[in-house]
């Protein structure tokens, strides 16, 4: 066996040379290395996991149609997407095309100079293929320049999913043998009771996965909207311009009902510590009969071979929804980096992504509703459960948008409050907060205080805003609302 002997100086020299080479290699632009000898490579980022089959198919079709353009897709982890995008822009390694993070507001990204205006390509003719009012100053237009476009159609954000097998085992069926879909809060209580009692406590009525703190707010959102609280957990009640967790009794009533379900053993006991993903898996295995979630649940379930479920939305005390899901006429999803190296090709990918044909495949694949109403035809959908979802599109309405009436309101920065709704909901559920009305009123006061302070501060900075900008006294929450421009 031979041994190579190095002097201390040689060893050090070798180490420095190796480290230096590695450092220089690390500093190189990996995207340049990855680029083919000919043609263009576009870096594209998203957070789409369950939607990945659709994206991959669109990438394939786009590349077939644009021979010399290759898309290098990177799917980032959802809850760190904002950080990764911010770091990429600050370090000059941002992708050419990206899905835009929902926080902070798009205006912040534009203000940082990170995004490229699309006006060169997004001509009035191009914009005309979208529904009316899709491009709104303060939403996807800033300073008169377009930065993005809406992708999805207005749709119910959350649904109550029902495990058909569990319901049938509990005898919750109609005379024709079909599953008895609950519509009222009492129906759900009765269903949960039947499931829990008939299984001898082995199967539970409801379950959720609150490890990420999001599931309890989803329950509150779904049930309280149905009961007629138009802000849900997302916004102030625009009829008064105030947060109403403490003054609108729907919130306290629903939380009292939830605690009642818990005390009667209807709720899967590990719901506070499992993740939503785990809860969805347990639901599909029949560990509990009902779960609240979004349309994103459906594709993974179908891929896993679980199709024996039904869905409904907006359960209410009376069986008729008193409130709905509200959306803005304009929204945003995809944008181009201000430093995209091949802007025309980057635009070509964005244009493809937003095309009516891609939107149609999005709906047919069961991923959501399209911004183009003609794509949202249940007749074109093969999955029966997704067909039920598409048929619920009428539970999502256009609501008031303060930024349309006063674009300056988009510049108001409201400070976060703590504890916020996910915390308070968890505290009430676990019994750490014993006085529910008091906890909700304190939360309401914190949120309204933060909003008032933000408006005052904005006024101090010269912005022409007031608390009245959040008030739409003529809003009938049962009808679509057209916000008049200020």
């Amino acid at each position: 066996m031979s041994a190579i002997q190095l002097s201390r100086r040689q060893l050090l020299g070798a180490a420095v040379a190796t480290g230096g080479a590695a450092f220089l290699a690390g500093c190189g632009d990996s995207r340049q290395n990855a680029a083919p000898a000919q043609g263009t490579t576009l870096a594209y980022w998203d957070w789409y996991v369950s939607q990945a089959p659709w994206v991959d198919n669109e990438v394939k079709l786009f590349q077939q149609a644009n021979g010399k353009t290759t898309i290098k897709k990177t799917t980032q982890v959802t809850d760190k997407y904002l950080d990764l995008v911010a770091l990429a822009f600050r370090s000059g390694t941002a992708p050419d095309v990206l899905l835009l993070p929902t926080k902070p507001k798009l205006e912040t990204h534009v203000g940082e100079g990170w995004l490229m205006p699309l006006d060169k390509w997004a001509t009035p003719e191009w914009r005309s293929r979208f529904p009316a009012n899709s491009f709104v100053e303060g939403v996807n237009i800033f300073g008169g320049k377009v930065y993005s476009a809406p992708f999805s159609g207005l749709a119910p954000a959350l649904q109550l999913y029902i495990h058909n097998g569990v319901f049938k085992e509990a005898g919750l069926t109609n005379p024709d043998g079909s599953v008895l879909i609950p519509k009222t809060w009492d129906d759900i209580t009765r269903a949960a009771e039947a499931i829990t009692s008939k299984s001898g406590g082995k199967v539970f009525g409801l379950g959720f996965g609150n490890a990420q703190k999001g599931a309890l707010p989803w329950l509150i959102e779904l049930f309280c909207r149905g009961a007629g609280s138009p802000g849900g957990t997302q916004s102030v009640d625009y009829r008064t311009g105030r947060w109403t967790y403490g003054t609108d009794r729907n919130y306290a009533d629903f939380l009292a009902l939830l605690l009642d379900w818990k005390s009667r053993g209807f709720i899967y006991p590990n719901s506070m510590s499992i993740s939503d993903e785990q809860a969805r898996a347990f639901f599909s295995k029949g560990r509990f009969g009902m779960i609240v979630g979004g349309v994103w649940n459906q594709a993974p379930w179908e891929e896993a071979g679980f199709k024996d479920y039904s869905l409904m939305t907006l359960p209410s005390p009376t069986g008729t929804p008193q409130g709905f899901f509200y959306g803005a006429p304009g929204s945003y999803l995809m944008g181009l980096s201000a430093k995209a190296r091949n802007p025309d090709q980057a635009w070509a990918w964005l244009d493809w992504f937003y095309s009516p044909a891609a939107g149609k495949r999005w709906v047919q694949g069961g991923y959501g509703l399209s911004v183009y109403p003609e794509n949202n035809d249940p007749a074109g959908v093969t999955s029966p459960t997704f067909k039920q979802y598409v048929a619920m599109a009428n539970t999502a309405l256009v609501g008031p948008v303060p930024a349309i009436r006063n674009p300056e309101i988009a510049k108001v920065e409201v400070a976060p409050v703590q504890p916020d709704l996910p915390d308070v909901a968890a505290g009430i559920y676990t019994g750490q907060l014993k006085d529910t009305p008091k906890a909700l009123k304190e939360l309401e006061d914190r949120l309204n205080g933060a909003l008032g302070e933000a408006v005052s501060k904005a006024r101090g900075q010269g912005l022409k805003v007031s608390m009245d900008d959040y008030v739409f006294a003529d809003w009938d929450i049962a009808k679509p609302y057209t916000t008049k421009r200020g």
Binding site: A211, K213, G265, S273, Q278, P416, Q418, G427, T430
Partner: protein, 326 residues
Amino acid sequence: MTDIQLVGRPRALIAGRASRLRRRIAAARWSYLYVLPMLVLLLAFVIYPIIASLGYTFYRWDGIGEPGDFVGLANFARVMTDSIFWGALRNTFFYVLLVVPVQLVLALALALVLNNRRLRGRTLYRTLFFLPVVTSAAVVGVVVQLLFSNFGDVVNDVLMSIGLTDEYVDWLGDPSFAMIIIIGVGIWHTLGYNLVYFLAGLQTIPDELYEAARLDGAGALASFRYITVPMLRSVGVVIVLLSVIGSFQVFDLVQVLTNGGPYFATEVVNTYVYHLAFGGFGGTGVERDVGLASAASFFYGMLLIVFAVAQALFLRVLVRRRGGRA
């Protein structure tokens, strides 16, 4: 003349000292060279971020772009009046106060057992006890979380069948149990470190001392009290310090197992700072404020420095007193 002497002497003195310092540095140049990479890393990843983040404490800033909303000392004032911060600090101290003594007693007891030369397979046992240390805390957390969430109801069924409980318990979702579980996992995860330190300390104690004690009629308990404990004192002080510092740094176990919940029941200061800086999951939970997080981090750092100095002084006095008595 006098003036020249007064000025000249210090100059000569300084020149002489500088020359000696240069010679000493030159003589130990390889040592300095070997220390240099660590020093560079320390400066780049510890010292610089600390100094850089000091500036952020004076701003309200969400981490996007450059900070521009100057708020002065408001962030510090907010942290000092935030009941959630003090709750997190209380939880942190609770964790340290339980983990450190329990772990040290267990580690010392195991070290005494594993130091017995007549014990067969002691190398294997040492390896087994040290294995958790080389496993990432995040991985341990994920596995434990999966165990409790996937098999939590199996555990509940067993406990209910033997009458220990009459209802299902959400082990990681119940404020009465979550922190205890984190502490238990924390003790198990880093026990190996202290075990190895104690073993190293035990092996420095000359056998002759024990033989002499045995000849003098001392039993096992007396040998432990009058030989082992005094001889381990200096090592023990270091182990206590390292254990306390390590326990104050608890983060990943809490983040993975409970995310600080339910309702801050397991929030420790490091997760509190993390949640302020990076927000909650998927837009839920508190929204980000890097300025406030930096202020909380600095304030916590100051508290720890005060605590560490007090601890060091206390231990020094203790060692001196005991040393005096011995």
